[in-house]
């Protein structure tokens, strides 16, 4: 064959090691996008094998190919519409029967197929002896054993995949489940009808799906052959009734049962097990982690450790980057020399870009560590346990434990959190979770807290955990903020469940993957994917916003006649030649500050800020904070960037660049600092969150989310500020 370009689609159950195999095949050459029309992530990557170029598409992880979740529909439609040259099903061979279920569906769909028996090391460790030649023969599909994270078997897997892709007859040799004498004749009949009236390529697949009363298939056939669909549906319905009357269960249940029967038949012949150990270690760990009494305390401790470690290790790095930023600003500013004070370009570079984008970038280590911790919880398998443990509490607010996973992801970033609500069974649960998700304080809000805490609350160690791990007051403050967010989420969820989204708790099922030691590579990739988004955001959206804000803060400039006044005052102080040098310097600094203030107030942003400031006055915010909180709508971390710009535009060239924290500390009180944190925690979610909510839930819910959160933020902050300032 001359064609040197093939498309490989990777399918597989969640947790089968699909991502790991995908990474092993494609290395770093990946791109992430979305499937058209839905927010399901589409990962694709390029690879070469010998002299063949490969395009590898990572389908969403699914247990089956029914149409119960968007992921399943997406995977199925990709296979039907894009017709990849070969499908590689990543099978967790330590859990063969359940993983082969998807394989039977792929075989019924009639795609060219290769099975990767991944986790073969685990399977061996558990004493499974899999005769893969025999099983391959029984299923009519090539099988290759792999160990994903070690890259073992990947070359052989690609060899097998290419062989299938080149072989036009591969599909014909596949076996598929035989549904027995009660069903098979009827299925054949329906298959014949589909082939005759509608689809010649996959008549059996469509016939099976019609028997299962699969909504997505009915929709598809209705489009493909509108004139025959009613006839097909009527025939399918008749057969369904018939099957149900003789078998006692709905047709789709019988079909699922027979598929498992087919699998277990094949496995009995080809797999022997020397010892019964599956999950033993996992179960032991679980007897502690999900223990009735220990579960919750362990969970709370783990959460605390996540945040504590993030800060313990992250803060020194942030400080390091911060001083790096200072040096850079100085070096770039220095290029203009003494005379450059008025250079527009210099101000744009130093005050706008370095201060604004830099203020956001220096927090990258914290974000990275937080994502690392979340990746650890996900990859190790603990996340699903947390959902179990927390179920009791979640139940009290009318949700169930499964809703907790999106919320936990929301601590990293609200957007993937909202996408993760897809796994929830009912719309009620999804909507409630989406509405309160922004109250889980996301990573982008972290820079705000850290900036504020650093400015107003000198760091000190208040206690040592286990006698070694230092716990700082900052960690406790942060914990408080997070807890406030969680408490508010609980209250709001309860209110929504009692009013707009009434209804009893829904049944849920969730698989607990076995505990696994996460691999460094896996963690690194997970962490990096998300961190990269943060950095990219800083380099694009935030850069753009910061430049606009800088321009608004730079123009219109203060008139000469006003500037002259400051010059004169300065000259007067210097002429005075006060014996006390320090006092002179102080006076001069005061004048500089006043000039800076006057310049800002005269600028476009100053005027706009002054206009909206009265709204935020009860919260204790001046116009600068007010504009920054509004800027934070674009992206939460813009707040920090904006404060950076507001406090540096108009500064003198040779003035010692004072840390933004010091400037804040000089200007505001700790109470105001707390109010800023509180407002940032609760107030309107960022633009991207709103966009995703619109997409996932509709614009009405997005609107509700924005308004209720902003109103809540305003009211609470006002209360705290008003009460606080009277007490202090």
């Amino acid at each position: 064959m001359t064609d040197k370009h093939f498309t490989i689609a990777l399918a597989g159950n969640p947790n089968s090691g699909k991502t790991t195999v995908f990474n092993a095949i494609t290395g770093a050459r990946q791109h992430v996008g979305n499937y058209p029309g839905v927010t399901v992530e589409k990962k694709a990557g390029a690879a070469t094998h010998g002299d063949v170029r490969l395009e590898v598409v990572d389908l969403p992880g699914t247990y089956s190919l029914t149409a119960y979740s968007i992921e399943e529909v997406v995977a199925r439609n990709f296979l039907l519409n894009d017709k990849p040259d070969v499908v590689v099903d990543i099978v967790d061979s330590s859990n063969l029967e359940r993983n082969l279920y998807l394989a039977t569906q792929l075989m019924e769909l009639g795609v060219p197929l290769v099975l990767a028996f991944n986790m073969s090391d685990v399977a061996e460790g558990r004493g499974y002896n899999i005769d893969d030649d025999k099983l391959a023969e029984l299923l009519g599909v090539p099988i290759v054993k792999t160990v994903g994270h070690k890259g073992k078997g990947i070359t052989e897997l690609l060899d097998a995949a290419l062989a299938v892709a080149r072989d036009g007859q591969a599909v014909a040799s596949q076996r598929h489940p035989n549904y027995g004498s009660e069903i098979e004749p009827h299925l054949k009949q329906l298959t014949g009808l589909v082939a005759e009236k509608c689809d010649k390529h996959r008549p059996r697949w469509f016939a099976i799906k019609l028997l299962e009363n699969d909504a997505e298939t009915i929709k598809r056939l209705r489009q493909a052959c509108p004139q025959h669909i009613e006839e097909l549906l009527a025939e399918a319905e008749r057969l369904r009734r018939h099957i149900e009357s003789i078998c006692g269960d709905a047709a789709e249940i019988i079909l699922a049962d027979r598929r498992y029967g087919f699998i277990s038949g094949a496995c009995t012949e080809a797999v022997t097990q020397s010892v019964e150990v599956r999950h033993e270690r996992s179960d032991k760990i679980d007897s502690v982690m999900t223990n009735r009494y220990l579960g919750l305390p362990i969970f709370a401790l783990l959460m605390f450790l996540v945040f504590q470690l993030t800060f313990f290790m992250g803060n020194p790095l942030v400080d390091l980057l911060d001083s790096g930023k200072g040096l850079l600003a100085e070096a770039v500013g220095g290029l203009w020399g003494e005379s450059g004070a008025d250079s527009v370009l210099r101000s744009l570079l130093v005050d706008g870009i370095i201060e604004g984008v830099g203020a956001v970038m220096v927090f990258t280590p914290l974000i990275m560590l937080l994502f690392l911790a979340i990746a650890f919880l996900e990859d190790s398998g603990y996340m699903a346990r947390a959902a179990f443990v927390i179920d009791r509490l979640m139940h009290k607010i009318g949700l169930h434990g499964k809703s907790f996973i999106p919320m936990l992801i929301g601590f990293g970033c609200t957007v993937p959190g909202i996408m993760a609500t897809r796994t929830l069974e009912t719309r009620r649960d999804r909507l409630t979770t989406i509405l309160v998700l922004p109250l889980m304080s996301c990573g982008a809000r972290l820079p705000i807290y850290v900036l504020i805490l650093g400015a107003f609350f000198p760091v000190n160690t208040v206690l040592r955990l286990f006698g070694i791990l230092p716990v700082t007051n900052h960690a406790l403050w942060l914990f408080l903020i997070y807890i406030i967010g969680i408490a508010l989420a609980i209250i709001c969820a309860k209110i929504f469940r009692a009013t707009l989204l009434k209804g009893e708790a829904t049944p849920f099922v969730m698989e607990l993957p076995p505990y696994r030691m996460p691999t460094l590579k896996g963690l690194a990739i997970h962490m990096w994917e998300r961190t990269w988004l943060y950095i990219k955001k800083a380099g694009t959206i935030i850069l753009a916003i910061v430049v606009v804000l800088w321009a608004l803060a730079y123009w219109p400039k203060l008139g000469e006649e006003k500037l002259v006044v400051f010059e004169q005052r300065r000259a007067a102080v210097q002429a005075d030649a006060h014996p006390d040098k320090e006092q002179t310097a102080e006076l001069l600094a005061e004048i500089d500050a006043a000039e800076h203030e006057a310049k800002l107030e005269h600028s476009a942003i100053g005027r706009a800020g002054k206009t909206i400031a009265p709204v935020f006055k009860p919260c204790g915010f001046d116009w600068k904070i007010s504009t920054a909180t509004i800027g934070a709508f674009a992206a939460k971390e813009v707040f920090v960037g904006q404060m950076g710009v507001l406090y540096s535009v108009g500064d003198d060239v040779d003035e010692e660049s004072v840390d933004l924290r010091e400037k804040l500390a000089a200007k505001y009180t700790p109470l105001m600092g707390f109010c800023i944190m509180l407002f940032s925690l609760i107030s309107m979610p960022c633009m991207v969150t709103v966009a995703v909510t619109v997409r996932e839930a509709g614009w009405r819910w997005a609107l509700l989310q924005v308004t209720y959160l902003t109103a809540l933020a305003w009211v609470l902050t006002t209360i705290v500020y008003q009460v606080g300032s009277r007490l202090i």
């Binding site: 089956s64 006692g248 699922a256 179920d391 009893e504 708790a505 049944p507 969730m510």
Partner: protein, 84 residues
């Protein structure tokens, strides 16, 4: 399916099963087609064995075909099983 009729014991809700007990899946009550089908695809078809590993104050952890599942409290009330 048919062998379910052979088993003489009447089905009971899963909530009545004890930790460590092995039971046989008999069906789901008050459930729509979708839920029953999804359970079947997970491997929980009539006659299938499941073992109760943990019962918290609501959800259960059970073992089905060698996999561990959390069944939410709504679910454990609906699932019907027979002992043994």
């Amino acid at each position: 399916m048919n062998d379910a009729n052979v088993n003489p014991l009447p089905p009971m809700p899963l909530t009545m099963a004890l930790v460590g007990q092995r039971v046989t899946f008999a069906g789901v009550r008050n459930a729509g087609r979708g839920l029953t089908h999804r359970l079947a695809e997970m491997g929980l078809t009539p006659g299938e064995n499941l073992e109760i590993l943990n019962r918290g104050s609501g959800p259960f952890i059970v073992s089905i075909k060698g996999s561990r599942f959390v069944l939410g409290r709504g679910m454990v009330h609906r699932i019907l099983v027979r002992p043994g």
